[in-house]
Amino acid sequence: MWEYTDKVFDHFVNPRNVGEIENPDGVGEVGSLACGDALKLMFKLDEKGRLADVKFKTFGCASAIASSSALTEIIKGMTIEEAEKVTNKEIADYLGGLPEQKMHCSVMGREALEAAIENYRTHGKVVKKIEGNVLCTCFGVTDKEIERVILDNNLTTVEEVTNYCKAGGGCGGCKGQIEKIIERLKPEVSKSQKKEIKRPSKLTNIQKIQLIQQTITEQIRPSLRTHGGDIELIDVVGDKAIVAFRGMCAHCKTAEFTMKEVVEARLKEFVSESITVEEDNDSVSPDHKHQDF
């Protein structure tokens, strides 16, 4: 049994934007019956060039259906240029995360979007563009595609690559070549990892506060925002960070859990092992209304 978030379940049971569009501006189709999942994505633009209508049809497991539904919700209202920047990680984050072995479902969403945009730009001439050389013949994954998931998600092992784009999951014959790509991209991946994990050995007070603020902005806030919540840093006293939850998080029953398992864990990871967090109860926003799901 997979451990899916409530949001994955919600988008699986009540998928948004299911169906087809008559005379769409762009159509993208990826996957196949043999692969076990497939997604057909269509969109129509309004006069301002925004994605006014987006529809999908998906064959696949619960997380494939939920990822497709999430994708349509994310890109609705975006311009082509904005939509083009959406990564598989954003799809997974929107759903509150996906099991590692199901990450390929979010990648399928991003691929379908790319295919649809390509289809739009070539006025329907290009139905599916294959970039690079097919490396994994079992699932038809190209080297370009593998490079893309490695860089987008900072992957460092063949197993991770298989989880994200299936490559190497069939006969396993291409595992050596995947290993080589990982080796080649290692400098870039570790650079972007370093950007995320900046943990100097000794921090001045100002550095510490800045780093806490940065970690909250980059690492913590985005995941809270997917649940309609937010967080604010109130003060830093020694190694104690005093924070306040905002929005949905403020009265959430699991706030205490989030405080320990998300906020404190991230600060320990990215700032210092000795950091603890405390909630500032005095500053709860008074206008907050609790929403029940």
Binding site: W2, E29, L33, A34, G36, K57, F59, G60, K102, G169
Partner: protein, 385 residues
Amino acid sequence: MNTVYMDNNATTKTDPQVREEMLPYFCDLYGNPSSMHSFGGQVGQKINQARESVTNLLKCKSSEIIFTSGGTESDNAAIMGTLSSYPQRRKIITSRVEHPAVLTTCKELENRGYTIAEIPVDRDGRFDMDIFAHELDDNTAIVSIMWANNETGVIFPVEQIAKMCKQKNVPFHTDAVQAVGKIPVNLEKNNIDMLSISGHKFHGPKGIGVLYVRKGTRLSPFILGGHQEHGRRAGTENTASIVGLGKACELAEKYMHEENTRVKAMRDRLEKGILKSCPDCMVNGCTDSRLPNTTNISFEYIEGEAILLMMDRFKICASSGSACTSGSLEPSHVLRAMGIPFTAAHGSIRFSLSRYNTEEEVDFIIDKMPPIIKRLRELSPFIKV
């Protein structure tokens, strides 16, 4: 409606009578069966009784029963333990649709230099006797073929296979984990040398099984230590579970008729009901030689895990050969070996019933399946709605 459990090929409910039988062996009768005192000795007697119950069900001798931790251990021990009897023979014959307990063991032996012949099955999941007869030769160290397939329920002609092995003087093992307790097994009347069974597949406890080894079959000890299980499988007996397994065997004999009449009738009604109410679905596996409790149905153009999760919302438990993980190319090695097309193989659902199921539950599933299938097909890009 409470949980509707139709996943009995995965595991079964422990019969309350089995549990009652087991309970004293935790806190009251906790003695070691090997002890000299009567406090332990009485437990030894109870184990002997349990062994008798197993022999009554299988029609064999008590000295031929080795208690193990379950089907997987029995399969491993049978295959690994026979090879040293014929060190010059370098071939192992099995089928393409075996349980991983057998297939993975064979894969490992392939790494050690053995040749593995995997006998194919036809579109209906039937064992190919011609190819088997062709493969069986003097170089064969062991043949391991399952009695009944866990995914489709298709029954293999193991008694005939055993006879052919006997003629060639090749040891024959069968994984009978799905067969025992569902169909009659009579080891007096066939040439099967070794047979694996698992307690939890027929309302016994988990973590206990049996390897039957016919007298005269050369099998090396597989767990070394004390004298237990004739020195072949050392270690203090799992007393409570052995007692529970004994009771489960007793009950299996008692309910064998019901399994092949009432349970079978429910299975048939469920199968017909679904086929009638859901378009584009089909039964996998030949229906004339099949376990009485199993049906495997493919729903075309949709994916198994999604179907299961939709069923889960109604607390209906079944299983799917399809596991949508990045690491598996084939939806189910059994269905693919049968040549079931991808359109159908990804959307296969196995219902496996037991004596605890009711007619109301069958009605409930027949009622709930069509909207689930319709809903997922509306989402599928391969169907024009």
